[in-house]
């Protein structure tokens, strides 16, 4: 139980570092002088010291929505698969609940965008709604496929099962599901082919447009939420699609897990540097690819396996 809480706290703590690390890696690859990987914490503490400015056009939604954006994601942190063998994990929550909670967080974020009465907020919400509507089917199908391979829909149990009996006979569907999930990871976290987190250009921004009118603590909360969302997806990917290294003793297993997270972050940074951002209306092609891979994964599972 102690291990469980320590894991959650550590994951929440390294969340800003991961995003700064991605940014630093990208800058290095582009021959810029990289930012420190502690930049995320500096931004956080700077925002915490600012006063909150609330726009006069807004309503109660802006007052409460930032908390409701963060809290579902914080709850998801408690439901993640175990990092160390024998550690406590939540068995009474399944993958649908997790996607549902993430959608709940997005729902309030989109309302937040519409609340400030600026064209930017509405634009961001509209695009986010479009992307997340297309993410949903791919996500559900991938979950379905993973649940068949792991024999359980609960992510905690699935992580343990996959680590104990790796489904070698279903390697093809496992790979397809992995590809699909990685595309979803990029799309849901607003990484480059889908959204560019670094610009504030109205042609490209999705996530940033929704939170354009936030500042101070509210902005800090939203930024924390987005870094936690990345950690959630990265650790789901690490536990479900790289299910090894759980059997070592706690500190080593934990280090392995952190290494996996940084590996995923490096992968994301490499992809971001090497791809251009897609036009909004090309995004369905990318997400369609995720859907096709999820279908392929299911079909290969049924046709080849069992």
């Amino acid at each position: 139980m102690i291990l469980y809480f320590v894991t959650i706290i550590l994951l929440v703590l390294i969340a800003p570092m991961l995003l700064s690390y991605i940014k630093a890696t990208k800058m290095m690859l582009l021959f810029k002088r990289p930012i420190s990987i502690f930049q995320g914490y500096r931004d956080f503490s700077k925002l915490m010291h600012k006063e909150t400015i609330i726009s006069e056009e807004t309503s109660a939604i802006t007052t409460y929505a930032p908390f409701l954006v963060l809290s579902p994601l914080l709850i998801v942190m408690f439901f993640l698969p175990p990092v160390v063998h024998g550690s406590y994990y939540v068995s009474f929550v399944d993958a649908f609940t997790i996607t549902g909670l993430i959608s709940l967080s997005t729902f309030f974020l989109m309302l937040l965008g519409l609340d400030s009465a600026s064209a930017f907020g509405g634009m961001g919400s509209s695009r986010e709604a479009f992307i997340s509507a297309l993410v949903e089917p791919a996500m559900v199908l991938t979950i379905f496929s993973v649940s068949l391979m792991a024999g359980d829909l609960g992510v905690g149990q699935a992580g343990v099962n996959l680590a104990q009996h790796f489904p070698e006979e279903h390697m093809a569907s496992f790979l397809f599901a992995g590809i699909s999930f990685f595309i979803l990871l990029m799309a849901e976290n607003g990484r480059i082919p889908v959204d560019n987190p670094e610009t504030h250009l109205e042609l490209t921004m999705v996530h940033e447009a929704m939170i354009l009118d936030l500042t101070g603590v509210y902005l800090a909360i939203i930024e924390t939420a987005s870094s936690i969302k990345f950690v959630i997806f990265a650790s789901l990917f690490a536990s479900l699609f790289m299910p090894f290294g759980l059997e070592f003793s706690a500190p080593i297993a934990f280090l392995i897990f952190i290494a996996k997270l940084f590996f995923i972050a490096t992968l994301v940074a490499l992809l971001e540097v090497n791809t251009a951002k897609l036009r909004l209306f090309k995004i369905p092609n990318l997400l369609g690819l995720a859907i096709v891979f999820a279908f392929l994964s299911l079909i290969t599972f049924y046709v080849l396996g069992a």
Partner: protein, 627 residues
């Protein structure tokens, strides 16, 4: 004459849960209705007739109440006739509901052997002797699904529901559609029981199509009540997906999974009743204050109407199937029953179910987008019209009705195990084993799926933890004592006004563009240019209208065919007398010739000969020479 088994009583509960909050709302709405007696009379008869339908035990009583329900709701649509569209919508509804009634009547005439007073057991006996059970199944489908509003018989919903007064739209969409679902349960279980596999697949396909079509047209809609009506199509589709999965599992002998899917369908029926009634009430309040159904004229109503806005938000979260709402729980159950398709042996069926999963998941995603749009454009931002500026909260009775309905929504979430017990009893009453103990094996905290790779959900724990964590963060925010300043929106330095906001049309823009092939939107764009400069203009206007493809393809072509036939009938009516005589002669020939077929004295040679004789006599005697 009347039946009070668990199925009936559960649906009686559903109707009462939908109707009682509606009574308050309706009383609050009453001062704005001109023909009060007409309205009250039909309103109460409508509720009474719905109750009558679900407790009737033979065909004649069922059909009586069914017809009463259709007629009263038809009159209720005509309560406020201010525009021609109302009359047109009412006529459309009248036609569609009687189209369904016709098939129900045919169904009953066959299964009762002409004696409409026999009970369900006798009906089952005659149905089992009937040679073509699939014909009966299709009669039943056409009869009930034309009322429930499933593809392709759904086109009347977005016309009829918005035209009715808001309490009536809430009742029609929230409760009346469910009476049709009751009919499906009652007659498929009690009369047509051993189902072939294909029936389940038909229902599953209709459900998957309805859910996608419903939500896609809802997204393109600017009329808030038509948007909600389209969402009814979607939710009926979701219910039918659960129902179809139940039927498929049943024919494959997977009885536990089948019962689970049926319970999911009943649960979603209840949930849809609760949140859809609430949404229609909220839309009604907004409409009542702003005097328009056009969403582009709303905005910023959350400040003037906090109660409406809050209840609408609860319902929007629930219909978008976001945890821990009741809508999420029933959709979770339907997803679980579809994921259990891995238990099937039939590989082609196993490979086909993921497409239905895809449809349902896509629907879920689009529903979230649609309700962000509906909520955000209506209640958030700045008011887009003078009416929206002067809106204020509705009267006490209407608010009370909405709050009561919110309680129904919340109770369905909090007391899921309690309700589930009764849904389980419904299935026991229909001759299934109870699976309540499998869904809630250890207390009320966790809900389990019954499949092997199934999942677990814990609604109460989720609710508590969400509340707890949010309260904790907010408490921390207070403790830090952060200063707050009110200032106008930054928006990159641009001045925000009602006109710079995103519109409903703009919000749905990306999705409309993706589904261009389905919508085929008609765009109206006009621009007042300055001195002919394309890039300089001081005023522009953009509007998009989407006409349902089904209506364009299916209904319009039927209308064309009818027009064409009636043209020929018209020409027939203006023939000379000699041609009438010739026609009588030809009809006699047809009767004489066709007698041979019935007398089983049939050979192809005589058939061909007689056919040519007929053709020649028609050609010469009736058509005659062209002038």
């Amino acid at each position: 004459m009347f039946v009070f088994d668990t199925l009936s009583l559960v649906f009686v509960t559903l109707i009462l849960l939908g109707a009682i909050p509606n009574l308050f709302y309706s009383s609050g709405y009453l001062p704005h209705i001109e023909r009060k007696t007409h309205y009250q009379l039909h309103y109460f008869t409508f509720i009474f007739s719905m109750l009558g339908v679900v407790v009737s035990a033979n065909a004649i009583v069922f059909l009586f109440f069914w017809e009463l329900m259709s007629l009263t709701s038809w009159q209720l649509i005509l309560t406020e006739v201010k525009e021609k569209a109302t009359i047109k919508a009412a006529r459309f509804y009248f036609t569609m509901t009687h189209f369904g009634f016709l098939f129900l009547l045919l169904f009953f005439l066959i299964v009762t052997d002409g004696d409409l007073t026999v009970g369900f057991a006798a009906m089952k006996l005659s149905a089992s002797h009937f040679a073509y059970p699939t014909l009966l199944f299709f009669f039943l489908l056409l009869g009930f699904l034309s009322k429930a509003g499933a593809v392709p018989l759904h086109v009347w919903l977005p016309y009829a529901h918005p035209q009715a007064p808001s309490p009536v739209s809430a009742l029609m969409s929230g409760v009346m559609l469910k009476v049709a679902i009751y009919g499906m349960f009652r007659f498929l279980f009690d009369v047509l029981y051993p189902w072939p596999l294909e029936w389940g697949i038909v229902i599953l396909t209709i459900g998957a199509l309805s859910s996608l079509v419903g939500v896609l047209y809802a997204l393109s809609e600017h009329d808030i009540k038509a948007l909600l009506a389209n969402h009814s199509i979607e939710n009926i589709g979701i219910i039918l997906i659960g129902f179809g999965m139940g039927m498929i599992f049943d024919t494959l002998g997977l009885h536990t999974l089948s019962t689970f899917a049926f319970i999911a369908a009943i649960f979603h029926t209840f949930n849809h009743m609760s949140f859809k009634s609430l949404l229609f009430m909220g839309a009604g309040s907004v409409l009542h204050q702003t005097h328009t159904k056009n969403m582009e004229k709303y905005g910023g109503l959350i400040k003037a109407m906090p109660v409406t806005a809050f209840t609408f938000l609860i319902a929007a979260i629930s219909i978008s199937a976001l945890p821990p709402s009741n809508g999420f729980l029933s959709e979770w159950m339907i997803f679980q029953s579809m994921l259990s398709s891995s238990h099937m042996v039939n590989t082609s069926l196993k490979l086909a179910i993921p497409f239905a999963i895809f449809a349902l998941a896509m629907t879920g995603g689009l529903a979230i987008a649609c309700f962000v749009k509906a909520y955000g454009i209506t209640f958030l931002g700045l008011h887009r019209s003078t009416n929206a500026k002067h809106a204020h909260e509705v009267n006490f009775l209407m608010r009370f009705g909405m709050i009561l309905m919110t309680l129904v929504v919340v109770s369905l979430m909090l007391f899921t195990p309690f309700y589930m017990q009764y849904f389980d009893q419904v299935m026991v009453g229909l001759g299934r084993a109870s699976i309540y103990a499998q869904i809630f094996p250890n207390g009320i905290w966790n809900m389990h799926s019954v499949g092997i790779n199934g999942g677990i959900v814990s609604p109460l724990i989720l609710l508590l933890s969400l509340g707890g964590v949010t309260a904790f963060i907010m408490f921390a925010y207070r403790v830090f004592g952060i200063k707050t300043r009110i200032h106008n929106s930054w928006a990159c330095g641009y001045k925000t006004s009602a006109k710079t906001q995103y519109t409903a049309t703009g919000f749905a823009g990306p999705i409309r563009r993706l589904f261009d092939w389905l919508y085929k939107p008609q765009e109206h764009f006009s621009k007042q240019t300055i001195a002919g400069h394309e890039t300089k203009f001081n005023d522009s206007h953009y509007e998009v209208h989407v006409k349902p493809l089904f209506e364009k393809v299916f209904y319009t072509s039927i209308v064309k065919a009818v027009n064409f036939t009636s043209y020929w009938v018209y020409r027939l009516a203006h023939f000379e007398q000699t041609r009438y005589a010739a026609m009588i002669f030809n009809i006699m020939l047809v009767v004489l010739f066709s007698y041979r077929i019935f007398a089983h004295d049939f050979s192809w040679a005589t058939f061909v000969l007689e056919f040519f004789v007929m053709m020649i006599s028609v050609r010469i005697l009736i058509i005659g020479d062209k002038k």
